[in-house]
Amino acid sequence: MSGSKPDILWAPHHVDRFVVCDSELSLYHIDSAVSSELKAGSLRLSEETTATLLSINSDTPYMKCVAWYPKYDPECLLAVGQANGRVVLTSLGQDHNSKCKDLIGKEFVPKHARQCNTLAWNPLDSNWLAAGLDKHRADFSVLIWDISSKYAPETAVAAEKVRLSAGDPEAGLVVTKPLYELGQNDACLSLCWLPRDQKLLLAGMHRNLAIFDLRNTSQKIFVNTKAVQGVTVDPYFHDRVASFYEGQVAIWDLRKFEKPVLTLTEQPKPLTKVAWCPTRTGLLATLTRDSNIIRLYDMQHTPTPIGDETEPTIIERSVQPCENYIASFAWHPTSQNRMVVVTPNRTMSDFTVFERISLAWSPVTSLMWACGRHLYECTEEGKANSLEKDIATKMRLRALSRYGLDTEQVWRNHLLAGNEDPQLKSLWYTLHYILCLTAIYSLNFLYMKILMKQYTEDMDQKLTGNKGPLVYAGIKSIVKSSLGTTENLRHSRSGSDRQADIIQYLSEERSLALQLCGWIKKGTDLDVEPFLNSLEQEGDWERAAAVALFNLDIRRAIQILNKGASSGKGDLNLNVVAMALSGYTDEKNSLWREMCSTLRLQLNNPYLCAMFAFLTSESGSYDGVLYENNVAVRDRVAFACKFLNDAQLNRFIEKLTNEMKDAGNLEGILLTGLTKDGVDLMESYVDRTGDVQTASYCMLQ
């Protein structure tokens, strides 16, 4: 600290006090001030804090260095090293009853007067004060004083005591004999007690850094170096020491003391102060002369160097606390990253170094960000609307519920997916049926082959082809292959009063298609009853009634509707619909027909619409049913298989398939099967929804 530049020291035990030293000691008290008005005598340090001057001590005009008493003391006891080498204990308080009263005014005088460069109070034993002096040919430069010594001076020295205290009648004891004397014939520029042991002192002598062990003063460990100024120990890593010379800072590891671990980039101007941050690990602040920036070196994230060549990485930052040149700065002992800087004309400002922020995204939609010691987690708020949920979230939830992994009962997978997407339901049921039927047909074919083995090979050719692969190919191919083998049946609706002719088409392929649609179980039995029962159990009354109707059983339909109306969750309106149904008449020009054909469009439920469309439409043209988009595709296809002739059927299937493919509607798997067309369908589905999960599981089957 040169004569004119002020220096700042924080009180070690008073969190809000600091002292500014140049030619006098001024004690300030720091306050947080929210209001913009300043109390009288306050200085504004920053937007939130002000400082009030508490007291001034001008007893020691030749001060060169200052050290604060390490124990808690309300009086702010300080040791001041002067230009003539004397160390004086002085205080900034006015309380005359303090415990340390007898310490105040004590002087420690070296044998030969020369400048005192540095002072260090032992943090563990507060009686020991180390002073580092300039060199003298006959004297030691590192003196350790015991401040509690009431050592009576020898008689030989008594004469000088009179001489010395003549001018200072109130002076307390003058101590001339230090506890230890170290470091002969070399100036001491900086001192630091090592925290790991009470008796280890690190001194920056003129040409080397020396560690003095007070238990054995004849020994010392030293390393020749130029970087001897400003030694400080990292408060978090007690083996890490920083020192500087001119513009270069060297970082040492005391365990391997031969050469510095790291030297920081050299500054063009000499440094004035180097200080470790006491509140954050691995942060070193340096100040160069005549500069208004403080450089911060972050050593927290340095990886251990591999081998001898790589240097640890240091992150360097500069901060500018104020516009003017900075004379000195001091870290706040407890508040994180906070420091107070003072300019040569004694303006001070309070400054907090803002930490770098790091962000991390989680794989799910939440965000974490960290700044210094704060950690914030942000998660998405809002109702989980399954339709609006991101497909990635949906896929993750489905994967968690083991979606796609049920390969036995494949249809269960749609339940695992939450049973919310009708397209998925259709897809998995289709796959299920395909697999079931394939199994059956393969088994049959194999069985037949085994049976026919004894016959000749030409008989094999007469066997009907294995229907197994055909099943994979979807209804489209099934239907194509059935050209020309349709049987026409004239059928009448059961339960009606009159005979009416509805053309139904039957063939093996069509019944296979119906099996795929799920209307009938395997076998040639055309009984829809089990399907109807299952629909009733699910509570899908309208669909059950429609299917029953499409199987030409009006009574059954009415029965279902009545059941539905009377069931727990049923809609009472179903009774009305049943009533309307029961009025069915075959006459083309009846009022019933007219009314139903127009009013059916006002019905909400698509199946009811379809029902009335079926009843009121001309035979052969069932567009009202076929193009009712909200009716499930499989029902429409099954209907088409029953009531459309070959040409119409083909056209319809073709059109529907293309529609499905364009829309990426998974219900179309039924039509396309697991063929190349099916792949195209999947592709447009994935394009639309991004649901690669379903596509992959499906293709695995």
Binding site: N84, G85, V109, H112, R114, K135, V157, E160, S218, K226
Partner: protein
């Protein structure tokens, strides 16, 4: 480089500076410092090898000057007892001593060294330092003392051997450290709190060696003073100047010193 001038005499050779740096070993029992401390280990051997030395003691440390051309002899002589380092751009580089002894002067036949007369004025001196940043405060005073002080006029015919006072003032600025030797009367002219000295305020008495200008080639001058002092364990400051050599001993010890030197002189005659 100072321009040559008829008012200035310059010695002919270049001199190199040596200083003894303590290596931290426990101090020997002797309390003496300065030239006395190194009398046996440095001064005497160098004198035996016919190396002419100059000494300069300052407040901070002691320097020994040897001629540049004598350096190999010096290293050869001292290498046995000391580790020798050369300072190159701030770093200390060890100097190895090879065993070559080319160019060493042959040992001259042992001549008895000339005993030089000594004088001891009554003036009391003090050895001081000044903090470098307070130098401007005393600068005018210093210049006044250095250049404008008037020595008392010599009385015609008085024997120069009986001078009661010798004006002596030494100011050195070495590596930023200042060292001043001045007599006690002059010290009073300076502000007292700016001059830093020993806390005991000890004063020194001077012994001036040589009746006439000593020259630079003779060796053994320092040795003949240092040896008796070392035997008596008295610390001394030794400052060699262009004409004479000056040894400063503590005030209390001056009587003993004079007695020792007198004995030596008597025994030498």
């Amino acid at each position: 480089e100072l321009p040559p001038s008829e008012f200035m005499q310059v010695a002919d050779s270049t001199w190199l500076v040596l200083s003894v740096v303590s290596n931290g070993r426990a101090p020997s029992g002797s309390q003496a410092t300065g030239v006395t401390k190194i009398a046996r280990s440095v001064i005497a051997p160098l004198a035996e090898h016919h190396v002419s030395v100059l000494m300069l003691s300052t407040y901070q440390t002691d320097f020994i000057l040897v001629r540049e051309r004598d350096l190999p002899v010096v290293i050869h002589t001292l290498a046995g007892e000391f580790d020798i380092y050369k300072e190159e751009s701030g770093e200390c580089v060890p100097v190895t001593c090879d065993d070559a002894s080319n160019g060493f002067l042959k040992d001259k036949p042992a001549t008895s060294p000339t005993l030089h007369p000594v004088q001891s004025p009554q003036t009391r001196f003090c050895i001081l330092t000044v903090a470098p940043d307070t130098l401007p405060a005393i600068a005018t005073m210093l210049i006044d003392v250095l250049f404008y002080s008037h020595s008392p006029p010599r009385e015609a015919g008085a024997s120069s051997q009986d001078l009661d006072s010798i004006t002596f003032f030494a100011f050195s600025l070495i590596e930023g450290y200042i060292s001043i030797v001045m007599d006690a009367e002059t010290q009073k002219r300076f502000p007292s709190d700016l001059l830093l000295t020993s806390s005991t305020g000890e004063l020194w008495r001077m012994v001036r060696i040589g009746g006439q200008p000593l020259g630079f080639d003779e060796c053994g001058i320092v040795a003949q003073i240092a040896e008796p002092l070392a035997a008596a364990d008295i610390s001394a400051y030794y400052i060699s100047t262009f004409n004479f050599d000056h040894a400063l001993v503590p005030e209390e010890g001056i009587a003993e010193v004079i007695q020792l030197l007198q004995q030596r002189q008597d025994s030498g005659r």
